[in-house]
């Protein structure tokens, strides 16, 4: 077993373990920790394929941004009665169906577009920048506008809630 295999196995283990924790635990904070481990595992996988830029961006945006937002939401929304915040939703079967459906769809579409199970070797940040700011700049900018509109919508909704 080479070091690369070991690194890959570690990243995969982090992803699978984190995902299992997210799916199985009812303790919301443990769930957040699981999600964090999963996201770091994804970053590790990017690193394994030589996409250092993508891995760093993953840590920056997802661990530093999205995960913190999730923790904030849990802390602020949770009404403290002395206990830990727990997941009270009982939609296990529906959630499992959605999860399997989405992952099946992803696997099928990726299989068609990539055309094999072999991973595509990465070319690093330069080609990524050329792709995003070259050919796909319109899509990229439109996504930015969409997120901006969503942000304003959230502010409007939150603001109207205060007045009521």
């Amino acid at each position: 077993m080479t070091l690369a295999t070991l690194a890959f196995a570690l990243a995969a283990l982090m992803m699978v373990g984190g995902a299992l924790v997210v799916a199985l635990t009812r303790d919301l904070m443990r769930l957040v920790v699981g999600l964090g481990v999963f996201l770091l595992g994804v970053a590790g996988l990017f690193l394994f394929y030589g996409q250092a830029f993508l891995a760093t961006a993953q840590v920056f945006v997802y661990v530093g941004g999205v995960l913190v937002l999730v923790v904030f939401a849990v802390m602020v929304v949770h009404r403290s009665n002395g206990g830990r915040p727990v997941l009270t939703s009982r939609h296990d079967i529906g959630a499992a169906a959605v999860a399997f459906g989405v992952s099946g769809m992803l696997i099928l579409s990726l299989r068609d577009s990539v055309g094999g199970w072999e991973p595509v070797a990465g070319q690093g940040g330069v080609s990524l920048a050329e792709e995003l700011l070259g050919g796909h700049i319109v899509v990229f900018e439109l996504l930015g506008v969409l997120l901006f509109v969503a942000l304003i919508a959230v502010l409007v909704i939150a603001g109207s809630g205060e007045r009521r």
Binding site: V32, A52, F53, V59, V63, G64, G65, V68
Partner: protein, 315 residues
């Protein structure tokens, strides 16, 4: 072999931060005392320099208390993830022209991104204490840290634009002395935002001794408390080293071993300035803190970027 080197570098980084923290605490006590017209530590060793050697065993032997209602697993291991990222972020710093412990093409982004893990660890440790004051401190710390990440990154971006690379070694190589006046605003923004990232005074409302006891680490004791302390000093050392390397050209005007010495001297000067700021300015209120970040520093950082962008084609 790589793994072994990685392990050795890890040990070196932790040892550097630990000894740096010991020296830093002593130096800070001295600086603070001088500012307040006192002497500071002077009983143990010459100029009280052995005071911290006496303090470390005290911390090591203190009882490790875990509150009964705390989320035990998270409470115990979160401090490791507060300290760990700080140590990791040091590996990309270019200590001399052509040499950094880890030479990577995204080093600058790496340095700015890795403390994000620290934010989540602070939030988790604050929450795991099961204590209102800790939770409030954690929320304040997080709001502050993720807000100040933006002007901080924008400030470093103007240097990246000038150097045309995210690789710290390239930046040090491309650095010219006239970048100092050109990116002066960026350095001031980086300086202020870095202090806010460390949760140090005058940005220490997350710790606010008078209202929140010690904020997010109020319930910690012994070595677990010390890891928060070391994280604070570690990020002070890392931010000063990075600032000296990126904004002041590393070992400029010397190369090689002398360059490392010059870099360390610059780092100590920046650290002393950080302590000076802490012991001079009063604490900011939460709303003042946020408006400083969003209404002053972020627009200023964008102005600095525009200045660099305008100058760039003529260089």
């Amino acid at each position: 072999m790589t793994l072994l080197w990685g392990f050795l570098w890890g040990v070196a980084a932790v040892a550097t931060i630990a000894s740096g923290a010991i020296l830093g605490v002593w130096w800070e006590r001295k600086v603070a005392a001088r500012i307040q017209m006192r002497f500071g530590p002077q009983q143990i060793g010459p100029f009280g320099s052995l005071q911290m050697i006496a303090d470390v065993p005290k911390l090591l032997f203190k009882e490790d208390i875990v509150p009964e209602l705390a989320d035990k697993a998270i409470f115990k291991y979160a401090p490791l993830f507060v300290f760990g990222p700080v140590a990791v972020s040091m590996v990309v710093i270019p200590f001399t022209a052509g040499w950094a412990p880890l030479d990577t093409s995204v080093g600058i982004l790496f340095f700015l991104a890795v403390p994000s893990i620290e934010v989540i660890a602070i939030l988790l440790s604050a929450w795991a204490s099961h204590n209102t004051l800790s939770t409030l401190g954690g929320l304040r710390a997080t709001a502050q840290m993720i807000s100040y990440e933006i002007p901080r990154s924008l400030a470093v971006l103007s240097i990246v634009l000038l150097a045309g690379s995210l690789r710290p070694l390239d930046v040090v190589e491309a650095w010219r002395w006239w970048w100092m006046p050109l990116t002066f605003i960026a350095f001031v923004i980086y300086f202020i935002a870095s202090i806010a990232e460390m949760n140090r005074g005058p940005f220490d409302i997350p710790e606010a001794e008078s209202e929140l006891v010690a904020g997010y680490f109020a319930d910690y004791s012994g070595m677990r408390w010390a890891s928060f302390m070391m994280a604070e000093y570690g990020s002070m050392i890392a931010a000063s080293l990075f600032g000296a390397a990126v904004f002041f050209g590393g070992g400029w005007p010397f190369g090689g071993a002398l360059g490392v010495v010059v870099l360390i001297v610059k780092t100590i000067l920046i650290m002393t300035a950080i302590m000076w700021v802490k012991w001079t300015f009063p604490r900011l209120r939460q709303d003042q803190l946020m408006s400083l970040c969003w209404k002053v520093l972020t627009p200023l950082a964008i102005v600095q970027l525009v200045i660099v962008g305008v100058v760039l084609p003529w260089l």
